[in-house]
Symmetry: C2
Subunit: 411 residues, 2 copies
């Protein structure tokens, strides 16, 4: 099915994702910073009062800041009230889903212009408590109570993928090296250092030398978190926010000569528990959501010029590039090793550094993917620009795949 009215992005903003620079701010201040950039990014004729509704994706202000009812809070602090404000929570896919909800709201005929954003202030809790908080997105009765948190769940996915498809840890490391390199080109990224930079720095300080990045990643300096996932296979804990402004497609022209169109969207759910899945080496939700989005957009995987995918752990990027149809099942790791997903590869993935290096303030990630789409397709992505990008895909996952949303954007 298609939307009754087409939808375009006319503006986008995001804060840098980081674990320290937002330490003195609450989420309302972080969100305001992203909003101001989004508002100022609209090319012409735009006024704050043009915004008719706010859709906010955020995971758990409840736990992170003792603050629920975040959408109304943001509407208040932005001065958007009395416009309606709706919070969406679908775990780490919260703001990816919020973008679909914003698009549906426009397509419904009720609004012409809406703001969609995401925010998370995670560092207000101790690191160990953050992992417990995130685990609330898994099944508390049947997974968390058995000792699982997300590194363990994705480690299970990785070992299953190794066993079934012959993938190797080196391929995970290749994803990490690529995404850290890409992050070094992105001024919004949490980590702006390549693995080589890190290796050199740690080598110098400890009197070690390193032949190459892979050697560093194999060393005890990159400890195992949950076998086979090591530290550099896991995304960091970050604070941050991202915002996009959506408009009904015909009205978008009033605000910019270069709107970016939301061509396709899809969303699917799957079992909460990994143990209930037929196959651990694939996210069924990704496949189904992608099918919906490809169909609506009238494109195929080969038509995608670049993708931002949900690499909360390196194995997740390998699954995504397979499940999205970029590479045959079992060949995502090989493709990463061969450099095919690099910025200059034939299928660039996560040129912004991905969750791995850009960071993953969970509720903000989906909106940050839309921000990257907006920048890339307008040729405004700076050092990590993909040349001649015409069609982009974003892929945002909640938990271990119980929610997946896919969006396809085009000029």
């Amino acid at each position: 099915m298609n939307l009754s009215r087409d939808v375009a992005l006319i503006g986008a903003g995001m804060t840098r994702f980081h674990n320290k620079i937002h330490a003195d701010k609450t989420s309302r201040e972080i969100f305001l910073e992203a909003t101001l950039e989004a508002i100022n990014s609209v090319d012409k004729n735009f006024e704050f009062k043009d915004i008719e509704a706010l859709f906010l994706g955020t995971f758990s202000g409840d736990s992170f800041e003792n603050q629920a009812h975040m959408a109304a809070l943001m509407a208040d602090w932005l001065g958007i009230n009395p416009k309606p404000a709706i919070r969406i929570e679908d775990a780490c896919a919260s703001s990816g889903v919020a973008i679909s909800m914003g698009a549906m709201a426009i397509a419904s005929g009720l609004y012409d212009i809406v703001m969609v954003g995401g925010v998370e202030k995670m560092t207000s809790l101790d690191t160990n408590k953050v992992t417990d908080t995130l685990a609330m997105a898994a099944d508390n009765l049947f997974e968390v109570s058995a000792g699982f948190t997300f590194p363990g769940l994705y480690a299970s996915i990785a070992t299953a993928h190794f066993a079934k498809h012959g993938s190797r840890w080196d391929q995970l490391a290749a994803v990490s090296i690529k995404n850290h390199y890409n992050g070094s080109l992105n001024p919004k990224a949490h980590f702006q250092t390549s693995v080589l930079d890190v290796a050199k720095k740690m080598g110098e300080s400890r009197g070690l030398t390193f032949k190459d990045e892979m050697e560093f990643l194999r060393s005890p300096l990159n400890p195992v978190v949950a076998y086979p996932l090591r530290l550099f296979d896991c995304c960091p804990i970050s604070d941050g926010a991202a915002v996009v402004i959506l408009a009904e497609a015909k009205k978008a022209k009033r605000f910019t000569d270069t709107p970016i169109f939301l061509k396709g969207l899809g969303q699917a759910s799957d079992t909460m528990c990994l143990s209930n899945r037929e196959d651990l080496t694939s996210l069924k939700g990704t496949k189904i959501a992608a099918q919906q989005a490809y169909k609506m957009a009238g494109v195929k995987p080969k038509d995608i010029d670049l993708a931002v995918v949900h690499d909360c752990f390196t194995i997740a990027e390998i699954l995504a590039t397979e499940d999205l149809g970029f590479f045959p099942k079992g060949e995502g790791g090989v493709a990463a090793e061969e450099g095919r997903t690099a910025i200059n590869g034939d299928k660039p993935v996560n040129p912004d550094g991905g969750l791995k290096a850009k960071g993953h303030p969970v509720g903000a990630t989906g909106a940050a993917m839309a921000y990257e789409m907006f920048k890339q397709l307008r040729g405004e992505a700076g050092k990590h620009q993909i040349a001649d990008a015409e069609i982009g895909l974003s892929h945002n996952v909640g938990a271990s795949g119980a929610t997946v949303t896919v969006q396809i954007y085009g000029k």
Copy 2:
């Protein structure tokens, strides 16, 4: 503005709201119970697989059950997956807002049939912790840190209303007596005892006698919670769930000969902090959301045959009946005293017992209001049926009014 496609209710279900009967269940089991009733309530041709998406309003599984990502969890437990599942959180208006989102999703052209529900399992926490958890819906930085929880916030509204409009506590008590009486007629209500029943029972057990309900409510047996609000001015802490099934209006006829149409909807936000409001004796959000809903439905306050309004505290019902335009400002209390809002009054309000007696499992309340609309307008409300009800209004408030959503239903 209007929705591009009209939307109808074709089914509805809810559990009894209660503080004890769901004690051994988790929210997934409570929600399943409401869903099964909703599914079975559809008159004909309906299959579970007809549901294309789930919109779930819930406030804070995070705090109540260490469980976030609730929409995907429910989709899993209901067997709806891989259909998309979206959680909405706007404090106590979560599932009221979810109904609007479900309606927009249908109007967008993306879906024809969606399920919208709400659930909250509150009694898993100690009572004092529940009050703290609910307070996360207020401004944590500027209200909660100053000592406010919701009884205090609504007490401030009450004293302001007393001062400005000459309302009296007796009028609050009249709301409580009415809603408890109505609850005694509703088998789904948490409290199914009138205030007189309670007074008699407590009088007998303590050797006291009571002239009437008002005398009981004035006695120390009804202690002050936050002046001027006493225990019987406050809604209880309840567990429960409610579910409605929405369909594109033309397709609704396939499933029932008596669909109930969603004629109008509105939503508005206001400042989080009471201290930033121009006037404490009115919810601006109610006025604006109601204006939108009345306009879309093409009706006026005088056309509303019955209303379910958000009486989390008795003063809130008085504000609502004024702000919705049923009575002039300052006359809501008088109207309650005069019995005009009783089931047999000229403007029946909360015939189901309202939040006061029916209970208020916060995330479920908006959906339970839609359930009541469905039953009343089909003439299936049993002992609390409003005769010849043609047009109904529901009014669901988040926090102290930072979110308000209004829906108007008709045959």
